[in-house]
């Protein structure tokens, strides 16, 4: 084993506290293979060149739009109906004197949809605190729960009413999704919540939650990246943020120009993607017409972009 390959082990061993013997078992196999084979293990996976290029393109687009935003050139973001209705939804609950329910989805805090959900939760909780409206945030994931509690606590602090924050309004409920769905449906029915937010990643419990909310007559706003649950939310909710609108909404409510600029970065990457799709279609048509080399060029393009399995 050379010194260079030891460096990450030493780092994780000393700085992050992983014992070396724990690594020895897993890495030992690789080392043993390396010792028995004449070729040393590769440091680079060429099959993922297209994937890396796409990542670098996204990073480049993000850096470009962020630098423009810092110079004051913040991109225009078209109005999102669901986002505009957030304020009205909380106001409606305040007028009725009833509470607001916010479901942050079923994924852990490491999921991007949950992170975006936390940004929106901060904004909604702040509005609730200003209007003195109770907000309930039942949690499915025990790792998301303390973050949600902290986000709501900070929202109450920002609105100047930290003493009105009730930790029991942001409880951990259950990590079994049907138990969670039953508990949340029960809360909607008993408390007659005026507004329900379903923002994050959901599974089949989405329809149980949204239909129960619709039956109680609550105004409902959903935002999810789960395309399988989108039809159910569109059917049962008053407003639905579809797919990337969730991330766009989170960037918009943050008020940070750099965050807003990321939406423009998405458009740059999409334009490049559309360019590749059009090129692929043109090459396919040319290959059908019998143009020499078109088929080979298309195969090369596919091999570059799509990881071989």
């Amino acid at each position: 084993m050379n010194c260079r390959s030891l460096l990450p082990w030493v780092f994780f061993s000393l700085v992050l506290g992983i014992p070396m013997p724990a690594l020895a078992g897993q890495a030992g196999e690789g080392v043993a293979q390396a010792a028995t084979s004449s070729d040393s293990p590769p440091w680079w996976n060429p099959k993922r060149a297209g994937n890396l290029s796409a990542l670098l393109l996204i990073c480049g687009a993000l850096a470009y739009t962020a630098s423009r935003a810092k110079r004051g050139k913040v991109p225009y973001i078209r109005p999102i109906a669901g986002l505009d209705s957030l304020a009205d939804a909380v106001g409606r609950a305040a007028e009725k004197g009833r509470s607001v329910l916010y479901c942050p989805g079923l994924h852990s805090i490491g999921n991007p949809a949950t992170m975006a959900s936390m940004s929106l939760l901060g904004s909604i909780a702040e509005r609730c605190a200003r209007l003195r409206t109770r907000i309930e945030v039942p949690n499915y994931d025990p790792m998301t729960w303390p973050v949600a509690q902290e986000v709501v606590r900070e929202a109450y602090e920002r609105s100047g009413r930290p003493e009105e924050f009730r930790p029991q309004d942001v409880p951990y409920v259950s990590s079994r999704f049907l138990a969670y769905a039953s508990a949340v449906a029960g809360t909607m029915t008993r408390e007659r919540t005026a507004t329900n937010f379903f923002i994050g990643h959901f599974y089949s419990e989405a329809l149980i939650l949204a239909e129960t909310g619709a039956a109680t007559g609550a105004l409902q706003i959903a935002a999810t990246d789960s395309e399988a649950q989108l039809p159910f939310f569109i059917t049962t909710c008053d407003h639905t943020l579809i797919g990337e609108e969730l991330f766009a909404a989170a960037a918009t409510v943050s008020g940070d120009p750099t965050a807003r600029s990321t939406i423009a970065a998405h458009d740059i990457v999409k334009l490049v993607g559309i360019g590749f799709i059009v090129a692929g279609m043109a090459l396919s048509l040319l290959a059908l017409c019998g143009l020499e080399g078109a088929s080979e060029l298309r195969e090369r393009l596919t091999a570059l972009l799509v990881e071989a399995r």
Partner: protein
């Protein structure tokens, strides 16, 4: 010290985030070994987090029971069920044929199956609401839904191949195109959020610096 308490998690997130992304492109064992170890950390971290979740659950419902708050009976049932299952699991074990497995099989599974079966009724009522021809868009949706549903019936497939082929066309082309557009948008949004979090542009998950 407080600043360190805020910046240390960010530093850990930055180092591990970059390392986890890099390992996707570097198959060398000296990189993959630590990554496997990091993934193994998830289990004890999850166990600890679930323990804190149980403490939080007990605190919320315990307070309701002690103060006899409104509907404290539900909280009592929740606490009683949780502690009974835990007691039986710790004392008698969770092996097949034991009390714990029996309670799981004959209590929890039927209760969950009952809740899950409610979906059939919810789907019916949601479909009824969705398929009302209130506008031009809703009428198109209704017409395409009728064609797709008919196309999935074996009898119609044999009796009227045109409906079956239209149904498969709708599912394979317009439906797949729309779904892929959503998936591409979601993927870009997710990557963007991940990059912002790793590099500290979005620190919502870390809370406010005190």
């Amino acid at each position: 010290m407080q600043r360190l308490g805020y910046r240390l998690p960010f530093a850990v997130m930055l180092v591990l985030g970059v390392f986890i992304v890099a390992q996707h492109y570097i198959p060398h064992p000296s990189v993959q070994g630590p990554v496997s170890a990091i993934k193994q950390w998830k289990q004890p971290v999850n166990a600890f987090i679930i323990f804190t979740g149980i403490l939080g659950l007990a605190a919320v419902h315990g307070r309701r029971v002690l103060r006899r708050e409104r509907r404290w009976g539900y909280s009592a049932i929740t606490l009683g069920s949780m502690f009974a299952m835990s007691f039986v699991g710790f004392v008698f074990g969770i092996a097949d044929g034991g009390v714990f497995q029996a309670w799981f099989t004959y209590l929890i599974t039927p209760i969950e199956a009952t809740v899950f079966s409610l979906l059939a009724f919810y789907i019916a009522s949601a479909a009824f609401r969705a398929f009302r021809a209130r506008s031009a868009h809703a009428t198109v949706l209704l017409a395409s839904a009728v064609v797709v549903m008919l196309g999935l019936i074996p009898f119609v497939e044999n009796a009227c191949p045109l409906i079956a082929s239209t149904s498969s066309f709708l599912l394979e082309y317009p439906n797949t195109a729309a779904k892929r557009a959503i998936v591409i948008g979601v993927a870009l949004g997710a990557i963007s959020v991940a990059i912002q979090t790793i590099f500290g542009l979005d620190r919502t998950v870390l809370g406010k610096e005190r």
